[in-house]
Amino acid sequence: MVTLTIDGRTVTVPEGTTILEAARSVHLDIPSLCYLKDINEIGACRICIVEVEGYERLVPSCDNAVAEGMVVYTNSPRVREARRVNLRLLLSQHDTKCTQCTRSGNCRLQELCNDYNLLGDHYAKDLRPVPDDFSTPVIRLENRCIKCMRCIQVCDKIQSMNIWDVIGSGSRATVGVARHRSLAESDCTFCGQCITHCPVGGLQEHDDTGKVFDALADPNKITVVQVAPAVRAAWAEYYHLDPKFATAQRMVTGLKHMGFDYVFDTNFAADLTIMEEGSEFLQRFTHRERYTWPMFTSCCPGWVRFVKGQFPQYTQNLSTAKSPQQMFGAVAKSYFAQKLGVDPHNIFVASIMPCTAKKSEAKLPTMRDACGDPDVDVVLTTREMVRMFRGEQVNPAVMAETPFDSPLGTGTGAAVIFGATGGVMDAALRSAYYLVTGSNPDPDAFHSVRGMDGWKEAVFTIPGAGDVRVAVVSGLGNTRRLMEALESGRASYDFVEVMACPGGCAAGGGQPIHDGVEMAESRGGVLWNLDADATIRFSHENPDVQALYASYLERPLGEKSHHLLHTQHDAWKMPNQQ
C-alpha cells in the first residue's frame, strides 16, 4: 500500500494505483475527458493534470502511479488555468454546434466546458475542411472528434478489429480508418462500440429517423414496428425512470402515439428463431458427420460480419436461421400481409434495435425473401427511437401501458433473454431439450451460461441426444480468442453463441450512452428478471408461434421456413473478401 496526500487528505491505496483513481477512491473527482478506465489511460487530453509537489511541470493523473509521500493538488490555480486553456484549445478545433448534435446534454466536453465556465472564444476557430462519409451505419464526424483515441482503443483492445487508427502526423494527425481504407471498404463489423465509448458526438449511428417519419406520414403505408428484447431494458434511461416502471408496454404506448399502425415484439421472432435454430442444431447434432463443428448462432450481425471477414472458413458453421429481426420482417411481409389481405409492398417494417450492425443486416441483398422488397425497411437504434419520442413530446412518465399488438406481439421469457449474453444459448437449450425428450427441463437448468464472463463453457446432457458442449462468448476480442482456440484445436464445442458486444445486446452499439459506465450487467439483469417473472419461459410454448406454424409455416425447417426464415451466409461478401 502507498500513502499520499491529495488536497490535504491522507489517502492509502494499493501500489500501482493511478493518482486519478486514488483521488476518486476518496471522492475527490479529478475531471477527465479522454480517460476510460483500463482501456484508455494515455494522458492525451491533459485535462486530468494535477500539481505534484517537487515537480516543476503538471502531471496527468490518469497515467501516473502514486508514490509514497507524494503530495498532490488537484485544483491549484495552475491546474485550473491549464485545464481551461486545454479545453479552449480543444474547442478551437471542435464544431461547437451543440444545438445540432445528438450528444448535446450527454457530452463530456460540453459538460466540462460548462463546469469551467468557458465564456467567449479565446482562440481562432480551426476546423478541417474535409467531407464526412455518411455511407455506413457508423458515422465519424471529423470536426466533432476530439482525438481522445478511445475509439481506437476500444476497437483494438475490446473488439480486436483494429479498424480505427491515428492517421497522419503533426497538426493534421487525426483518427481514421487503418490501412488506407474507408469504413465502407474495411472489414468493420459495425458493432458500434466506438460510438458508445465516444465522449462527444464524434461518432454516431447513421440517423434514419427521417425515413420513419416519412413512412408514418404516408397514408398508403401500413406501418409496422418491432422492438428488440434489449431495447426495453434501456429505452427509458434518458427519462431517468425506474426500469420497473419503464415497461415495454409503456414504450408501446409511445410508439403508438407516434403513429405506428402495429407495434410488435421482436421477442415473437426470437421464439421463432429458437424453433428454427434449435431444430437445426438437433438436425446437425444427430447427423454429426454431415456438418463441420461447432454450430454458431447467427442472430448477431456484428458477429456474422466478423466471422465472414476474419474467419471465412467458418461461415458454413453459422446457423442458417436468420436473426429475429429478419425473421420478423419476412413474416410481416408474408404471413401478416396475407392475414391483413394487403399487398406486402405497402407494409413498412421498422425495427428498433440496440444495434448499429442491424442497419447493415437489413440492407443485405439476401434479406428480401418475402416480396422482393427489403424485409425490414428501416432500422433505428434505441437512441434514435428516444430522439423520435422527444420530437413527438412523448412523456413516458405520464403514459399508461399498452399491450403489444397481435399476432406478432407475443414473446416468452426465453425470447427476452436474447438481449443478454448467454440468453440465446439458454433459450435454445430449453427448447432443444423439449424437442428431444418431449418434456420441459427446469427453465433455469442452463443457468451456467449466464453472467458477465466474456467466454463461458458448459456441458449439458440432453437425455436421448447426449452431451452437448457449449460455449458462450461476447465481445469480439474474446471471440477472436475462441476462434483461434478452435482453429488450433485447443477448444472444441458443439454449439457456440456469439455476441459482438461485450455482455450482449444489452450493451449494444445502438443503446443509450453513459460516459465511462458499462451498462451490460444492469440492463442484462432487467432482462433475466423479465424471464424469471414470465408466465411462459419456453419458446416452443409461444402460442402465436405455434399458430404461425399451424396455419402457415407448417413445421420448423419446412419448405416455407427454408424460404422465409433461413439464409445463405455465403451469398454476399465482406469488403475484404472481394
Binding site: G16, E41, I42, G43, A44, V52, Y55, E56, R57, V59, D63, N64, A65, A67, R128, P129, V130, P131, M149, I152, Q153, D165, V166, I167, G168, S169, G170, S171, R172, G176, H180, S182, S488
Partner: protein, 611 residues
C-alpha cells in the same frame, strides 16, 4: 561615431544561434513515419524565414508554395494543385538568385519525386500514407526491435540479469551488441531534443559486464521438426537460438573451424574480447543446438542433401569473400586481403608485422580493423590509403580517431593505380594517383576525380586490401536460389521465392552490413520458419519493466565510455574500451525519457511484449 566597429553578436542573435543548434538536434531526433508532405511544408516555412527578400521567386514564391502545399494537406487541393506546386518549385529552382531560394524549392521538387503518392493520397482521400508504426525512436531504429527503454530502466535499478533476459527476447547476442553494435538506436533518441542521445550501447555493456551467468529460458516441448542452418555467424546463431527455444531441433553447418562468423573472423579482439564471444556462443549452444564445423556446403555436403534431410533451411553464410581492387600487381606476394588477415587472426594465427611498412587500401570499418590490428602486430608504419576525404570514409568516426591515436597514417585522396613488385614478385610499393574531390553523386557523396598531380609511390612491405566483401555463392549456384548482383534474393520474411522451406538472411542477402541486422534477420527467419512448420510459438519474457518515474529531466551531459591510453593499448589485442562506472550507468539510465510511457508510447507500440 567610430569609423569601424568590432563585430559582436547581439543578445538576440546569440539566443537565435542557440535556437539553431536546438533545432538541428531536434530535426535529427525526428521519429520515422511523419507525414512527409507536412514536413516539407514546415521546412519550406523555415527556409522562407531565411529569405532576405530581394528576389521575387524566393520572397513570394516560397510563401505561395507553402500555401499550395497547405491546400493539399487540408484536402482542398486538386491534382492540378500538385502540378502548380511542381511548376512553381521548378521556376524558383531555375530563377532564385542564391541558395536560400533555390535549395528551398529543391526540397519541394525532391519531395514531389520521392513521395508524390503521398501528395496524391492527401488530394484524393484526405489522408496520409505515412504512419507511426513504432513510436519509440530507439526501438524502431533497432533492426531487432530490442526493448531499449525497458532494459535501460532495468540497468537504472541495478537489475542487470533481467536486462539481459529482456534483451534476449529480441536479440540473443546482447554481449556482442554491447561491445560492437553500431547502435542505430541512438541516432534519433528523443533526448537529442534536450541535450544528447542516451548512451544506449554503453548501458548495455554495463548490463552484460555485471549480469553474471544468465540462464536461457526453457525450450518449448519438442516439435520433432528439424531445421538446418548454414552458417554459424550472428544471423545463423540467432535463428538457431529462437528455433531451439520453440522446440525445433536445429543443426548448424559452419565452414570455418569455429562459430561466430564475422564476430570472430572479422572483428578484432581488441574491440570484442574472444573469451566473451566464446561464452556468448556457449550460452546459445546450451539450449541444445547441434553443430558441425569445418563443413563446406557444396564441397563436403551438397545443398540438395541438406535440403532433403531437413524440414526447413536457413542460409546465413555471410559475406566472406574478399573483393579485389583489380589493379596491376595485386597478385604479388605480401598483398593480402583484409578477410584473409582477420580470418587468420580469428583462429589465433598472428602474422608477424614487426618492423614492416604496412599499407591498407580502403576507408571502411574493416580497413580500420586491419590498420589497428597491423599496429598491434608490430608494424613500423601503417598507412591507410583512401580515394576520398576523411569525412567521406564509411568507417565510424571513433574508429578513425582511434586508429590515428594509435599512430596510423591516413593518406586520403589517393587512388591506388598499381602495385610495384621486385623480380621475385614480392610487393615493394603501392603507386597512387592523387585525387581532387568533385561533384556529389546521387547518393550524396562527392566523387573523387583525378587531380593534376603526378602519381606517388608509397613504399610497402605488406599491402592489405580492405575494399569490401562479396558472398561465396559457389556452393549454391545449382540450388535454385535466386541470386541478384552477387547476393541471395529473399523476401522481407526471409523466405526464398518459390522455395517454401528455404529461408536466407544476414549479410548473404543484404551484402556486408552490421551484426544487429544479421541478428534481426535470424529472428525474422525463426518466426517465419516456425509458421512454415505449422506452429505459432510465442517468444516472450516475464521481466517486469520498472514503472517510469516522474522526472523533471533538466539538460544533463551524456556519460560517455572512455578508452585505454593509445600508447598502452596499441601493443595488445585486449579490450580498448573502459566500461561505465556504476555511478555513470545509473546516471545515464536516469537520463532516459521513457518514450515507452511518455508520448505516443503509452497509447500504442510502447512495448511489444511478445513476437
Amino acid at each position: 561615431m567610430s569609423r569601424l566597429d568590432i563585430k559582436s553578436p547581439s543578445r538576440a542573435q546569440t539566443v537565435v544561434d542557440n535556437l539553431y543548434r536546438d533545432v538541428e538536434r531536434r530535426i535529427a531526433a525526428s521519429p520515422p513515419g511523419l507525414c512527409p508532405v507536412d514536413m516539407s511544408r514546415s521546412f519550406l516555412q523555415l527556409c522562407h524565414a531565411q529569405s532576405c527578400g530581394k528576389c521575387v521567386p524566393c520572397r513570394i514564391g516560397l510563401g505561395q508554395l507553402s500555401m499550395l502545399i497547405g491546400q493539399v494537406l487540408d484536402g482542398t487541393g486538386t491534382m492540378e494543385t500538385i502540378d502548380i506546386i511542381e511548376k512553381t518549385a521548378r521556376t524558383i529552382v531555375n530563377t532564385a538568385d542564391c541558395a536560400i531560394g533555390r535549395d528551398a524549392a529543391r526540397l519541394v521538387v525532391d519531395g514531389l519525386e520521392g513521395f508524390r503518392d503521398d501528395y496524391e493520397e492527401h488530394v484524393k482521400h484526405h489522408r496520409c500514407l505515412a504512419g507511426l508504426q513504432n513510436p519509440v525512436p530507439c526501438v524502431s531504429l533497432c533492426p531487432a526491435g530490442v526493448d531499449i527503454p525497458g532494459y535501460v530502466a532495468l540497468v537504472g535499478e541495478g537489475r542487470y540479469a533481467d536486462a539481459v533476459r529482456l534483451i534476449r527476447k529480441d536479440n540473443p547476442m546482447p554481449v556482442s551488441c554491447a561491445y560492437i553494435c553500431e547502435h542505430p538506436c541512438e541516432a534519433r533518441c528523443r533526448r537529442n531534443m534536450i541535450d544528447d542521445a542516451i548512451n544506449i550501447r554503453g548501458l548495455k555493456r554495463y548490463a552484460v559486464d555485471h549480469a553474471g551467468d544468465v540462464p536461457n529460458p526453457p525450450n518449448a516441448p519438442s516439435t520433432g521438426k528439424r531445421v538446418a542452418i548454414i552458417g554459424g555467424g550472428p544471423s545463423g546463431l540467432s535463428c538457431a537460438y529462437y528455433l531451439t527455444l520453440m522446440g525445433h531441433q536445429v543443426t548448424i553447418y559452419e565452414e570455418r573451424k569455429q562459430l561466430g562468423g564475422m564476430l570472430r573472423y572479422g572483428i578484432p579482439s581488441y574491440r570484442y574480447p574472444r573469451h566473451l564471444l566464446d561464452r556468448e556462443i556457449q550460452s546459445i549452444l546450451s539450449t541444445g543446438i547441434e553443430v558441425h564445423t569445418s563443413i563446406t556446403v557444396g564441397k563436403d555436403i551438397t545443398f540438395d542433401e541438406i535440403h532433403q534431410k531437413y524440414d526447413c533451411l536457413y542460409i546465413a553464410i555471410g559475406a566472406q569473400q574478399d573483393k579485389k581492387t583489380g589493379i596491376p600487381g595485386e597478385d604479388s606476394r605480401n598483398v593480402i586481403s583484409a578477410v584473409e588477415m582477420l580470418r587468420a587472426i580469428g583462429d589465433d594465427h598472428m602474422p608477424d608485422f614487426s618492423g614492416k611498412n604496412v599499407v591498407v587500401i580502403g576507408g571502411g570499418n574493416v580497413a580500420m580493423d586491419v590498420t589497428r590490428s597491423s599496429i598491434r602486430l608490430g608494424a613500423d608504419k601503417v598507412t591507410c590509403v583512401y580515394r576520398r576525404r576523411v569525412e567521406d570514409m564509411t568507417a565510424l568516426p571513433d574508429e578513425v580517431t582511434g586508429a590515428l591515436a594509435e599512430g596510423a597514417e591516413l593518406m586520403t585522396l589517393a587512388a591506388p593505380v598499381r602495385i610495384e613488385a621486385d623480380e621475385n614478385g614480392v610487393a615493394q610499393a603501392l603507386w597512387v594517383q592523387p585525387q581532387i574531390i568533385g561533384e556529389t553523386d546521387k547518393s550524396g557523396r562527392p566523387r573523387p576525380n583525378k587531380a593534376a598531380l603526378d602519381e606517388v609511390r608509397i613504399p610497402a612491405d605488406i599491402i592489405v586490401v580492405a575494399i569490401g566483401q562479396g558472398i561465396e555463392i559457389q556452393g549454391f549456384t545449382q540450388s535454385g536460389i535466386p541470386i541478384k548482383r552477387g547476393t541471395f534474393v529473399a523476401a522481407s520474411s526471409s523466405q526464398v521465392d518459390n522455395m517454401d522451406n528455404v529461408f536466407a538472411g544476414g549479410d548473404c542477402v543484404t551484402g556486408p552490413a552490421t551484426a544487429i541486422r544479421a541478428i534481426a534477420a535470424g529472428k525474422v527467419a525463426a518466426a517465419n520458419i516456425d509458421e512454415q512448420l505449422g506452429f505459432c510459438h510465442e517468444i516472450r519474457v516475464d521481466v517486469d519493466v520498472p514503472a517510469p518515474r516522474l522526472n523533471n529531466r533538466p539538460p544533463h551531459g551524456r556519460i560517455n565510455t572512455t578508452e585505454r591510453e593509445a600508447y598502452e593499448r596499441k601493443h595488445d589485442f585486449c579490450d580498448i574500451e573502459c566500461g561505465m562506472t556504476e555511478e555513470g550507468a545509473r546516471t545515464e539510465a536516469s537520463r532516459c525519457l521513457r518514450c515507452d510511457h511518455f508520448g505516443y508510447g503509452i497509447f500504442k507500440g510502447g512495448r511489444i511484449e511478445k513476437w
